[in-house]
Symmetry: D3
Subunit: 280 residues, 6 copies
């Protein structure tokens, strides 16, 4: 699992500049001697899955290259409470200055990975995979999508431009399923897949008749999902969405769908509690 | 409640460019006629508090100035399920293109405002106020802090540079409460306040003895908080933190503290469900 | 055919700032009166296809909103020598200042569209389409890909991240066609297509055996291409590359391939001669 | 021949971010092991002149500092087909990720250098030099002008602000050659040269009478050029433009002009074929 | 005294790109051999206080990392004429290229520090401190405020957002001192201080009655200042402004005010003469 | 006198974002009603020359397009104390928010224009002109050079790249005046002028012998200057530098030099006192 470092650098720089403002860390400068050193550990305070280590490493390095950052655990790994993620040693001022920005990336991204892992584990007895949506935080989509991968999830579209996803409103405005699918095929590049959202089996039948790469089965009951999977018979990739939780996911996955998507993985997830412990 | 439009513009532009990628909205371009029009409504699907309307307005305007955006409800207002927040009319393609970015600002910011409002209402019978922290999403702190204000909360520091907040690690590294407070006062500008985190009443006594603008009472029991408030006797602003929920907040507030702070308001909040309905 | 205006704006602003430097258009300021007006026409000096009108319009508008720009011809349209593309009237200084940047977008993009149209016309009697590559000018890929569409071409990948394209070097390093295809499928999101480059029919057979969305038939003879198309039998999209010119394209297209790709469309194309004529 | 590295860095970073998009090189990540190594050579596939090596070096270094880049040939050098330009060794993933961006700078810039060299060689028996124009790719003017220098050419203006160049339209709008030259001299800083475009010997006489640093003899016949050079008699630098090709250049140069300018050097040049060969 | 290096880097990069323009240092490239070396010293040509050394170090390092920069004196130190501030050795071209930008930061910032030190020394027999305003150079406020600290001054607000400062116009528009102070208190976060400008003792009485953190005594006579300090009696921080010079400052400080503010420290200060000497 | 608005916009946006920080104008938001209006006048409080009006206009417009800005005086005009420069009417909050940034451009730029005018007037009885240097504020060179023009001055180089200026250190390192001038001529483009700094008449003789466009006569006595002008006899432009003040300038100008340059015009100038008056 990897992420272009150029993207990480750009996001961390922006985060640090936001926090430093126009005067920098006036607390640490006022109360910590310039030559004070600290030995710290990045520690998981609860169980979960790690994501975003390069963001944390970069935050400390950008503030002071003299800070040593020694990772003990890699992204995608499961964390137990108390696990040391990394040892961080060096100038105390710099460590204190970078701490919050490092954690503001690491905690939420690990939260996304952990939530994704929760669903992934719950459906591990099936062939289905959990996937995310475009309901992400503006500016951080690349990072949140990466966190989903760290948690064992699959990525959906990264933007408006890398696949065609026809939603209910497109269908209504454009005049029906057949019309939109024909228009989409005329327009799509040869490496662009087409997915369409359907709410009923009747719509699904129409879409299959036209031919499509994937269908988004929105808010269907388990019975409808089973019927849909059967009707499709492998002719398209199947994605179920709506009311996905760790509790409901197994049953949805057992209907035979290929993917289960959940917006809350990226828009409403709880931070994973990770802290920076200073040693005496 | 207002927010500099220049900041909104910059964030929305970045969000749109992220979503448009290198090819733009290939779905809408493929399936929607260039001259198709749509009449839409931004609708609250659940109860809450609105925050971020200017982000949504700007997203639509940046994609197509021909889109009319008529707000019916202002930021900070309470929303009931089904409330129309704004009417949006104009070119269908542009509305569909901007929709997700508009909602990716509006939903999470309204989620923060709503969660803040929940605590604010729960402690409305006291003088205490709910406040946020620096545990925010990198790049969006200005927006999230604004959402806290929309929800009736107060803002804490905006960065490392606008107030001195001495945490436990500062105290340990710098050699005790008296030393850090003296150093802080020597360094602070005349418009910079100083707050210090204390974990025990003994630490509090020491801090009060030196004199300080505000004290952060971290993870104290209700009895300790009451004792702390009494010991302080108005000599410093009091902020309680740790395990704040709508359920625990009233009792904490009733101890007499001035502020209750909660990191989850900004780092772990649930999106408020707001949708864009297209009319036939 | 459309292009997000936000992307156009960003590119034009950068182009103008580059040309203005630190002192602006010192010639026009020195020799043209501030209130002098000019009536101009953007004129095609040779036959071709228009692409990039919004870049030109934006360049004039950014320099002086008082300049009127009235388009007579739309992107994708065929141009005959002498055709008036747009009438441009207003302050002479601003028109002279923006002229070169406007033309530096319009000429090369129309050149790409025209070259693409040349191939598209040459293969119009077949089902094949002409497509571009990632061999584009850094920073202007979105614009050049758009110009290809204006010329009747199809777009290939927009970047490293929107489709999997396995080249010969990937295969060599990763240990063969079967290995790379299996790895690719494990990794690919459900809306990501996979294409593989093959140089021989033996490689093709192996790829088809594993299953793949598209095959890039690199530098094959017409006989090999015909054999390849027959072997594939509709099981994958077919793309031929290598030595594509208006002369060779018809025969390549007649082999039955779906796509013909040519890097030179974007990396080596001749500008289309478009000029700005000033009327007395 | 050198180029400020800060400018190179900025352009390469933008080029890489464009190509990486939001997910990075999904092909290499899927099919190449993280620890796979590769030994490669940047090889000229045809004869020409090298330009842009620092762009290529920077692209590989930005993606992975572990990639070793050992140049064998310097910018401005002549390349024979098969020449190894540089050895590139290190992590295979990073090399594959950076390859296209590196080549998208190197190929077109070397193409410009090679074309310039072609003209420079053709006129080497005269005192004339070949020069470029402002007909460059928006955002890359500094790089393209550098490539012209690598090919033995001279640079014309870098923008609207570093010299006064009075074109035909300026003359028409401003009321004649005497008026524009007087206005230009009043306005120009003491280190700013003034050049004027003339189409006829009558115009030239008028310009010489007023005095000017350089004259652009636009689209004149060889006879006219000879007459112009004689009339000027060393009182101004002479630049000939219009229909310059390797075939026509020698005769133009032999008229005695100081400079021959050609827009196509930067706006319509063919890429130089340079490839990256992977060794087993 | 320190300054976040990320802020320094950003400002220096912008300064260098401004000076390099599109072609770089054409003089040094033309006349200095690429392998020429130089030994230089950054030397104070007059007495003063140093500020901005990291800007200078960064300018040389960004142009050529091979340049060695060895500081002999630190920011905030007093300089005597002839003092060597730093030794700079390495490639001559790079040193010459970076020189002006390095000095354009170092000279003006040291000028601010020196002027501040002048006032600070003049009032050193009192408890008063000299402070700056928001009358700074757009884009360089962080640097100029830092220079004030280097000169022994205190910083006022860094922007519109880090403290409430109610000026005369606010009072007029908002309806009087009581109204504005009550509004300010309702709005201010708990770490935000409130300062109000008063022109008369009557206004002061009103402000003290409402309670406020600090008062700006604008353009008062020495008698009025003394009366004001007495009336305040320690209930608010006192800041005197108006006609502050090294000559007037002692008397103002002796009135007992806490702070003396002067806009000219940052908006009208003379550069400190620092030069770069090349050794044979 | 004009300035590209795109450059103004970029600088003002950066200045406003710096001042707004992360929370905006918390004072005006707290104490001024959202619908309060104000009628203001931008007034000169001392005599001088105006420069930078478009910066001020843009600052108000960017904060609130509802603010009306009606200029009464144009850049380059002389101001008498009390002159109304512009009327500014509209929402009081926005006017108060933009005020400081508007003045932070207008005051210093008018200060530069006024100081330049002072010298220009002092030497108006000669043919000499006053000119600036590259000793400018990083990021604002374009604006400061414009202010010099508004004050009747001429501009020197805008950067390292628009002319060749050979300084004493170049000569020492490169091995003498003849060597550097020959190298410079080989390298310079045909629109690039060459100036050389000389300290003695012997150096001057050598430079004239080689031929050069301009000579910088550094720190020469009036007698030396006279001798230099005579020796040059019109063969090169002459620029005198060193110890230029309104008092010394006339005598320097009377020596017959073409230009007098002074770094302090841009690096050490006093702000011109311009204020914003609010009407009842």
């Amino acid at each position: 699992m990897s992420l272009p470092h150029l993207l990480v650098e750009k996001a961390v720089r922006a985060g640090l500049l936001e926090d430093l403002g126009r005067a920098g860390d006036i607390t640490s400068e006022a109360v910590i001697e310039a030559d004070a050193l600290a030995n710290c550990a990045l520690v998981a305070r609860e169980a979960g899955v790690l994501a975003g280590l390069d963001f944390a490493r970069t935050a400390f390095a950008m503030i002071d290259p003299a800070i040593k950052f020694e990772a003990r655990i890699a992204d995608s790994a499961r964390l137990a409470p108390g696990d040391t993620i990394a040892k961080i040693d060096g100038p105390a001022r710099g460590i204190l200055t970078a701490e919050r920005v490092a954690l503001n990336f690491l905690g939420p991204l690990s939260g996304i990975a952990s939530a994704t892992r929760g669903i992934a584990d719950a459906i591990a007895h099936t062939e289905a995979r959990i996937t995310c949506t475009r309901k992400t935080t503006p500016g951080l989509r690349f990072a949140q999508k990466y966190a989903v991968r760290c948690g064992g999830g699959a990525n959906h579209r990264f933007g408006l431009d890398d696949a065609i996803l026809i939603k209910d409103n497109h269908i209504v405005i454009a005049g029906g399923i057949r019309a939109v699918l024909r228009a989409a095929k005329r327009h799509a590049g040869h490496l662009v897949k087409i997915e369409i959202e359907v709410d009923t089996l009747a719509q699904l039948a129409e879409a299959l008749d036209e031919g499509v790469d994937a269908v988004l089965l929105d808010n269907m009951s388990l019975d409808e999902l089973r019927a849909a999977v059967e009707m499709i018979g492998g002719r398209a990739i199947t994605e179920a969405s709506g009311r996905v939780t760790p509790e409901t996911a197994p049953a949805i996955a057992e209907t035979g769908v290929d993917l289960i998507s959940a917006g809350w993985l990226t828009h409403s997830v709880r931070v994973l509690d990770i802290g920076l412990d200073f040693r005496a």
